[in-house]
């Protein structure tokens, strides 16, 4: 069904499109053309695979989480270990692909936005490797809660530009990155980190992330001899989920479960559960579900996880929701913290708080489903960056 999307206007059903200032339209056309060329270019694809294997460390393992599974007493949980990638998250799959594309297009400067800092670090990393100038926009609020990643980006030679407008988080960083791109359109490549933004970005990012699902599908067939009953992934903008879901879309018997951030709870208004609580609207270049007020103003969102703290979502997720092919649930800050601690204790793995949301939903599912069921959870990132946040939640000071 979905495999042929987006259509030639960049739409997934009624979602997607190119809602951007006129200055960016020629740049998007140029990008569409360049991407179409490299998609068919075997030398490009080989180069991309070379870096995934030798620089990122792919394939990432699919690991049967025996300790976690036994502690829950239900379905078997397998973890797709994107946390083991170079730079510690799935984000690098996409930045490798896009930086190679930017080089092909002759761009010398890379712009990116970042929330938790994982995409910023992954962008700064590939920019350093290829000797490109790099500016990463980051909300002041996120700079405060992700100081480790800010320092990593600076070590890698990137300029981290603090964004003080609006809510001072990911959405405002993206606004500012778009303003930079409008201004420096001739020299700069905007490397978007999620399956959001105007066409062709949602498609490009999905294509560079589908390696997650392609590998996981092959690995589960090898290890369990069957397809999973469910695949579970967290959804902020939705790139790790899209990468995991996409190769399973044709497998109708596989449930696709996206997990959004319920923050303090869906009823409190302090959450980032766009698909659960939003309605269609236009932000950052595409028509998709959006958390907004009745006047179309984007509302403040909250999640303990900076990477999920985003009021929009990729348009293909909106399509998967409306078509019924994927289901979207949520996990609160509290549930994510509990799942975070559970994985630490049962598996010796410290997950990113983003990924902990997927784990929290998987824990619920595993308890409901019989033992012969198989669940794959996309462990999209590692949690080193989050230990300060978790310590603060636990009332522990790390500065003594």
């Amino acid at each position: 069904m979905t495999l042929a999307l987006p259509d030639d206007r960049g739409y997934y059903g009624r979602f997607g499109g190119k809602f951007v200032p006129e200055t960016l339209m020629p740049a998007l056309e140029e990008l569409i053309e360049a991407y179409e060329q490299v998609s068919k270019d075997s030398a490009f694809q080989e180069e991309y695979r070379y870096y995934l294997a030798n620089y990122v460390g792919r394939p990432s393992p699919l690991y049967f989480a025996r300790g976690l599974t036994e502690s829950l007493g239900g379905a078997s949980i397998y973890l797709k270990r994107e946390d083991l990638n170079h730079t510690g998250a799935h984000k690098i799959n996409n930045t490798i692909g896009q930086v190679l594309l930017a080089r092909r297009m002759g761009k010398k400067r890379i712009i990116a936005e970042t929330g938790a800092g994982q995409h910023g670090v992954a962008t700064a990393t590939v920019a350093a490797m290829f000797g490109l100038e790099c500016a990463v926009y980051m909300g002041e609020e996120d700079i405060k809660r992700q100081s480790l990643n800010v320092f990593r980006m600076k070590l890698l030679g990137a300029e981290v530009v603090p964004v003080a407008s609006g809510s001072k988080t990911l959405k405002d960083a993206m606004n500012e990155a778009m303003r930079d791109w409008v201004t420096n359109i001739a020299t700069s490549y905007y490397l978007i980190g999620s399956v959001a933004g105007p066409h062709p970005y949602p498609m490009i990012v999905r294509d560079f992330q589908r390696v997650i699902g392609d590998e996981a599908r092959r690995q589960i067939l090898e290890q369990a001899g069957r397809l999973p009953d469910c695949v579970v992934a967290c959804v902020g903008g939705g790139s790790n989920a899209m990468g995991m879901f996409y190769p399973f879309i044709g497998d109708r018997e596989v449930r696709l479960v996206g997990v959004e951030a319920a923050g303090h709870g869906l009823e409190t208004g302090l959450h980032a559960a766009t698909l659960s609580k939003g309605k269609p609207g236009v932000l950052h270049g595409s028509l998709s579900y959006l958390l907004q007020d009745g006047d179309g103003q984007v509302v403040p969102v909250h999640s303990i996880s900076a990477g999920l703290d985003y009021p929009g979502v990729g348009p293909e997720h909106s399509y998967l929701k409306e078509s019924g092919r994927a289901e979207y649930v949520s996990a609160t800050d509290r549930e994510a913290l509990d799942a975070f601690k559970l994985l630490c204790r049962t598996e010796g793995i410290i997950p990113a708080l983003e990924s902990a949301h997927a784990l929290a939903a998987a824990v619920r599912l595993a308890r409901e489903l019989p033992g012969e069921n198989v669940i794959i959870v996309n462990l999209s990132g590692r949690g080193d960056k989050d230990v300060h946040t978790v310590a603060a939640e636990m009332g522990v000071s790390l500065n003594d």
């Binding site: 006129e22 200055t23 020629p26 740049a27 609006g166 236009v282 932000l283 950052h284 006047d295 103003q297």
Partner: protein, 274 residues
């Protein structure tokens, strides 16, 4: 294109040109500092020589705007400005002035209000058109249809990097006037405009007979005159919004904005604009 013949915006700009002057399109953000002030400002600005008034609808995420209009939008939203309130303000302005009136809005507020309802409401209130900076022609079918049906203009933006093929497509759908963005960048005052405006507006005129305006970065009378030599009208925004920001709440607000408008209009009425 039939309805453009009735465009109040186009008619006004052509009238100004016929008298040997160039047009002044003046922008302020609606609801900054409040809608009551916006109505007073608008009426006074029209009397001071504004040929077309452009009212900005504040949006939480204005990606085409620089710091000045971003801040104005946040002030307006913090004051509780709504789309409905702005349409009512348009009606209040129209009851006191016949100045052609354009709303500049990002697409999402229009989409949530409903494009058909928005167009009908704006037309009833006496508005004349819309500028939607994040709605390229590829996405504007629904809105264009709704505006055409209500006799309102959808004014397109073209930029220094718009290739000829797109220019032609944009011109074919244009109503009212064509808005040339002077720079690749966001709104805001600038010292210098490096774009070859004569080449840009010349290219636009190959595809359209509508008046051609230039905006983004124009702040003072001297700059306005330089720019006006290459076009039919200039748009001034951030320079006026900066006055509103500085003088908000003071009795001199309306006067100071109008002094600036008069200064600009006087320059655009002089012989050196042609």
């Amino acid at each position: 294109m039939t309805r453009t013949a009735n465009s109040r915006i186009k008619a006004r700009l052509e009238e100004v040109l016929a008298s040997g002057q160039k047009g002044l399109i003046a922008y302020i953000t609606a609801g900054d500092p409040d809608l009551k002030t916006t109505v007073e400002l608008a009426v006074a600005m029209a009397e001071a020589g504004t040929d077309v008034l452009e009212l900005g609808v504040p949006f939480s995420d204005p990606v085409a705007d620089g710091p000045t209009i971003q801040a104005a939008s946040q002030r307006a939203l913090a004051g509780g400005t709504t789309v409905q309130g702005i349409i009512e303000a348009v009606q209040a302005i129209r009851s006191r002035s016949d100045v052609p009136l354009v709303l500049m809005t990002y697409y999402n507020p229009v989409l949530q209000y409903g494009p058909a309802k928005f167009a009908a409401g704006l037309a009833r209130a006496g508005g004349d058109g819309l500028i939607v900076p994040d709605l390229p022609p590829e996405e504007s079918d629904e809105l264009l249809k709704a505006l055409d049906k209500n006799g309102l203009d959808l004014i397109p933006l073209v930029t220094p990097n718009t290739p000829p093929g797109r220019l032609q497509m944009i011109a074919a759908r244009a109503r009212g006037f064509i808005y040339c963005v002077s720079v690749t960048g966001v709104t805001g005052e600038r010292e210098n405009i490096l774009t070859d405006l004569s080449a840009m507006t010349g290219a636009v005129r190959q595809y359209s007979e509508l008046p051609v305006a230039v905006g983004f970065g124009i702040s003072g009378p001297e700059q306005a005159v330089k720019v006006a030599r290459h076009c039919d009208a200039v748009v001034v925004g951030s320079a006026l919004v900066n006055i509103v920001s500085r003088r908000a709440g003071s009795a001199g607000l309306v006067n100071e904005v109008c002094e600036k408008v008069k200064e600009l209009k006087q320059a655009l009425a002089g012989p050196e604009v042609n």
